[in-house]
Amino acid sequence: MDRSIAPDYNEIDRFDLISPQYERWANGMDVFVFDGGEQELLRIEWIFENHYLEGKSPIVNLALSSQLLEGTHSMSSAEIAEKVDFYGAFLRPEYSFDHTSLVLFTLTKHLGKVLPIVREVLQQAVFPENELQTYIRNNKHSLGISLRKNDFVARRLFNKAIFGSDPYGFAPVESDFDTLRREDLQRLYQQQLCPANCKLFVAGKIAREVMPLVRDHFDDLWGGKTMLPSRSQVAERSFLHSVDAGKLIYEEREGALQSAIRLGSLFIKRSHPDFPAVQLLNTILGGYFGSRLMTNIREDKGYTYGIGSGIGSLQHAAFFTIATEVGVEVVGPTLKEIEKEIKRLKEEPLEADELSLVKNYINGTILGSLENVFSHADKFKQVYFQGLDNSYYDYNFQVLRNSIPMDVMETANKYLDFDKMVKVIVGKY
């Protein structure tokens, strides 16, 4: 056997995506059901698009999600926690740029026991004052600790520099927590966490009794008393360019051994026809272990433990970002190398070999990200919330297959502009 010859391999030519069963229930809720897997378990997500109270800071939204499980008309915070834990379930609120969600993981055999808890939480949360005060105190405490982490601070400064005063750029300071009022949480809860603003995702092995149970708890008994705000009440959010485009933002940290670096700009969303092309470009530049940035800045220079780039595609905007932490003595050289790598992509067509490697790599990771029914649901959500459907993945596959080195170069020239990127450095420079 000749070990120097690599084994043959197959190109990936298809993805079998699980498409959801879709229903709209009478109370206005959109329901997506993904059936698959062998384990007797379920993940159920109630996902609500973020609304913002007029004249109030998005701290209310942050607090709303954290306080959801802190009490209902008939259950205290302790009782909710006790019941959920007793059934071995995991119930947690999540807050992201666009959504506030409640996520439940449970063994199917306990579904009937945990759904009533979730129903209470979503229909009768009361936001007790003492719990809110605990939240405020503990979050001020933990914020103080996080603010000593350079990468945490860099991310905040970056978001602010890209999105300015829009909620996407919001980074709370201690005094924001003091503005929290129970009435505001209640108001936002009424306005936002209603069936008409809810997308329900159920994933797992869907035994016969599952959906009737879910329906019992969330259709008939969850009325549509609340209304979505009309279009005119929702402020138009438009983003033309990064608020601080091209700016260098430096926050010095005494005694830092490393500096956190973050640079980037506003970008195109997944719904843009060029998105597959920019995603390919991003992967080449900094999206995988063998990327240009990793190869140069970690594997050749040893400046960092890791460097990567990514695209965040949100509902109202998108951003591109490169992030790393490097020794304080090599901040300048790192920035130079990043600039050089972007320039190379714009000026030199890449080798066909590198391009085919990256294409195969991307297809492999897509295939790998479809390993269980939860990930099928995640793949769907990723496109659905951008107004797309699973056919996006076919389109993506086609664009990838047809891309040639010149396309990558063109995309780099169209979308990457080092000079206009926001550059954030926290540490020493």
Partner: protein
Amino acid sequence: MVTFDRFVLSNGLRVLVHEDPSTPMAAINILYNVGARDEDEERTGFAHLFEHLMFGGSKNVPQFDTALQRVGGESNAFTNNDFTNYYITLPAANMETAFWLESDRMLSLSFSEKSLDVQRQVVCEEFKQRYLNQPYGTAWLRLRPLAYQLHPYKWATIGKELKHIEEAKMEDVRSFFNRFYNPGNAIMVVAGHVTTEEVRKLAEKWFADIPGMDMPQRHLPQELQQTEARRVTFKTDVPANNIYIAFHMGDRLSEQYYAADLLSDILSRGTSSRLYRRLVKESQLFGEVNAYLLGSLDPGLFIVEGKPLAHVSIEEAEQAIWGELEVLRSQQVEDYELEKVKNKVESTMTFSEMSILDKAMNLAYFELLGDAGLLNAEVAKYRSISASTLLEAAKQIFTRENSSTLIYLAENHDGQKHSA
């Protein structure tokens, strides 16, 4: 239930196969039975540095990752005090590439000077990023040598100090490879859309000609029974006070391990747990507080860690933690609460069966413990622990003489830091 087949090649390589046709992917996990505990005390951090070098190319594969990415695969690894674990996920149709890559680096690593130079630097940056440049990042560098005086668990996997990594030499790399990286010291698990027959053929084809070696027995110095409380306090530039208390406990296969794990769940798993309810929510002494095991194979540590709020003194905070430990030492846990933490163990084990990589890693880990089949007995083992066993374990573990306490005092922690 994770089913598996097992066979052993003539050179000693153990191979386990878990067939899961529901995914198009395969996971190949190779665990080498060598970790930071096998290091020379004057050259710590070496097992982990070596793990980095395993990606630096081998005789017939100049670039490990490139060859894998080309066929749609991904790879990574981790090192801990006990072992080093490498894993690959890739489309099952391209599984053979993983066999080619893993067998080549097991047979003949490249020992490239460039790779050693760069990875020394990369690991030093990792050291800074995760330990030196983070608030409390040095905790493990301080707590381990406090709790352990003889056993090599007294140093962290990353190493005692940057200097040890900076001084690593190629001859050390070679001898480490020759000593620990051979088929008899490895466990390979292949999981996913594969069959045992295919795996057997490929394993024979790629691994059978790698020479086997007898592995020397491990003779690690064992820790003596601790007889008095140990304590270190650092007044330093951290954002808030922080308390760590470490207690010695049983090894991974002892009944006490399972009891201790359930005790840690009772104390701090989920928002209904005792420390969270009583010390964060009710008495409002802590911003956060946790209890967990380090999970090592040799006799390990039970850790309680908490950050008291600014107005709370260290004495009051420590007393509150000890108060909860005292309750566990003196009062048997009620059936309801015991049932609760056992239910959580069961659901967590079930959820971990959703991922072929998790399954592959778990099988390798339990095979290292003696038998991969132990994985499927875990839930029953937890279920069999009684309240009186918990009480007994709590009595043995939570004593002052068995404790090592590490305190970080914030230099400006004076109770008035909340001025706007």
